[in-house]
Symmetry: C3
Subunit: 298 residues, 3 copies
């Protein structure tokens, strides 16, 4: 009954993948990148045709960092599901222990050429655009820590269920590393928890434990860790009871202004990121952070 | 002491009723419609000159559905009070048992000509514009269920008191019927309960019981059913203690951007509604919903 | 170790004090005004170079009213600190018993020429612009009541700690006096407590006691009165642990749209204030309010 679709770049490489109705193109950059990727799949996609629900399991050891390769594979995976009319819902979760996603891969920002940094940032934008404007019902089954880009990914979903483990945390903690969440990370958080909570969370780079995250509305529900995925499936049933067309128009009405802000400023946002991240002072901050991480592990 | 004003279309039919200062015109369409309406009054208006407070009781059996006739009478009633300098406050409540208002009359959207659908939608806009930008203090005394358009009407008021009866519910549940709340319903709800709560409420078409509604801020106060109206009168006294001009300027500052969005897109919004509601697929959804209602009654 | 800087207008009078990077000019009006001010300092500034934190104590008896003289001295004090690269944090508190600041000085609005009213309003704008867009971490140590302009000043800060004394209150209560909080007071409050809470607070001119203020998010933390300042210092340490550049860019991203709304409408806002406040009806309201205050004291 289950029809496991493994991501395969060749499926996409032969055709123009632009689609109408608010969906976003897979950029040539992403497709090209994907071709060069010959490692094992970073994402496992299991699509159940009988329910119309797909489960994406992130499995990029050790912590599902959002590298360019990962993001490319992820976006192609989402796009395939988006274009499959039988797929109405998407549950995103992690196959790695203790972590949902550690967020943007710092190695993609440290010591890289401006061109490569730009490619990377375009892929981050792509992930956000695809998820935040998805016509599918999207549910984040957050079964581990979810800082920075991991938190962003969670916030794009329609519903967030988190494992009630006080060791896990979630938040946009960019400032703690000396970097800055861009305006569309900020917009997504304002849409989720409001202006004041976002202001304090972003300025202090706050990470919240699950009960704090529930209290401010950063996640919608807490359950024991072993029930995250089954609860997500139950919630999905409730969401899919609503007629798709009415739900999709409503979702677009809520999110389109925020999506349009990035789509109409995409190149400037890339330029801005590249010129910021390639600064000597920022590169120095990242080096110090990486060295701190190394020492922690040792 | 009480000076009961019954709505009478002839009072308005002879003059141009456009007024300045942010008030909205009674459109010729509404006045024409009102002339054809020869049934008993759907609204009872009781104005107490000594307090400056009017009480509007909706009494359109069985469930105060917002039909074109009802809306026309309602708007004329509100406009009369608005133009009476002695009237400073308006309490809106229901004379029907168990229901405040069941919302838009589905019979106005099912099997009707595009012209008629457009007339109806203009009347819905008119009700919202009149209430949301009223110079009077408006208090909703919600003594029964208040789905869809009933919830919208409640949200336009300055203050909402609901009967604490767990059988009653309130919310914008349009998606459950396969239809979509337009942007100004959405804007009103965002202004009331914030972006994230609105997103989930609208996508799922959620109806809240009174204590849930209080928790998310959809209503301001719960009281036992037999105290709804007296509590509304007490709250009104508090609101009327504030100098009118300062309160009115402040209210306009808070609401004008939202009102302007509709007034500058009114015809396009009507066009959009008509083309959506007259679609075969939507008409089919409505037919199924109406048949479901019939079966329930039988 | 502590380096107490007393405000001294002559330090600023010789140079053009416009600065780049989002900081706001000290207008010639303010500097001219300051020259004429020969009374004792209304603000005590204590700057600890070892911590990078300055404490501003408002000491304008009896209630730290925001007069033109006070605002001029205050703005010059803030600007000096802003331009001192060693100063990273600012704590604002009161040296007067029971009151943080009573807000705008009504005597500046009653019986004054339009020119003088305009000068005064420009100084109120200046205070808000300087504080709301400050690059320093700003913490309000609210050790007494803080109505109207005092509440505005508090809301401009990054963090608000209030003395947990039920006799103290905070809020924008302008409508209770028959006057109106302008759009940028409103915007600041919406950014702090959201749209609906602001709507009701401003229309009714609500003053909240400390626990109510905490509940709606108007203040962030309550502590016993004798711990307000030490708690502020502890909170400051936490804020200063974040790299300045990342925090400053983030703060600007959150606040710039609100700041830009005033900077691009500054003259119109002054004009609007002057024409409103010099109306006979408003002057009469203020006279009644002042007489009421006199009777209370007698």
């Amino acid at each position: 009954k289950n029809n496991a679709l493994k991501s395969n770049s060749s499926l996409l490489s032969q055709r123009s993948s632009c689609s109408s109705h608010g969906r976003v193109c897979v950029s040539p950059v992403l497709v090209a990148q994907q071709r060069n990727n010959s490692t094992s799949p970073k994402i496992d996609v299991e699509f159940d045709q009988s329910t119309g629900v797909a489960v994406m399991r992130m499995q990029s050891p050790p912590v599902n960092s959002l590298s360019l390769d990962f993001l490319t594979e992820f976006c192609i995976g989402v796009e395939k599901l988006e274009m499959d009319k039988g797929c109405r819902g998407l549950i995103i979760t992690s196959n790695q222990p203790k972590v949902f996603s550690a967020g943007l891969d710092i190695m993609e920002m440290y010591g890289k050429s401006p061109e490569r940094c730009g490619e990377f940032w375009r892929a981050v934008q792509e992930m956000w655009l695809k998820l935040y404007s998805s016509n599918m019902v999207t549910i984040a089954a957050i079964n581990g820590s979810s800082p920075a880009g991991g938190c962003l990914m969670s916030m794009t979903c329609d519903y967030r269920i988190m494992a009630d483990n006080p060791r896990y945390s979630i938040g946009l903690n960019e400032t703690q590393l000396g970097i800055v969440a861009p305006f569309w990370f900020k917009d997504t958080m304002v849409n989720t928890v409001g202006h004041r909570t976002t202001e304090m969370a972003l300025e202090l780079g706050l990470l919240y434990n699950p009960s704090e995250a529930l209290k401010i509305g950063l996640v919608d529900q807490l359950v024991p860790e072993d029930q995250v995925l089954t609860t997500a499936a139950q919630a999905m049933t409730k969401w899919l009871a609503i007629p798709d067309h009415a739900r999709q128009i409503t979702k677009s009405m809520m999110r389109k202004p925020t999506v349009d802000k990035l789509t109409s400023n995409r190149e400037a946002d890339i330029q801005n990121f590249v010129s910021f991240i390639t600064k000597d002072s920022i590169q120095k901050s990242l080096r110090m952070y990486l060295e701190m991480l190394k020492k922690r592990r040792a």
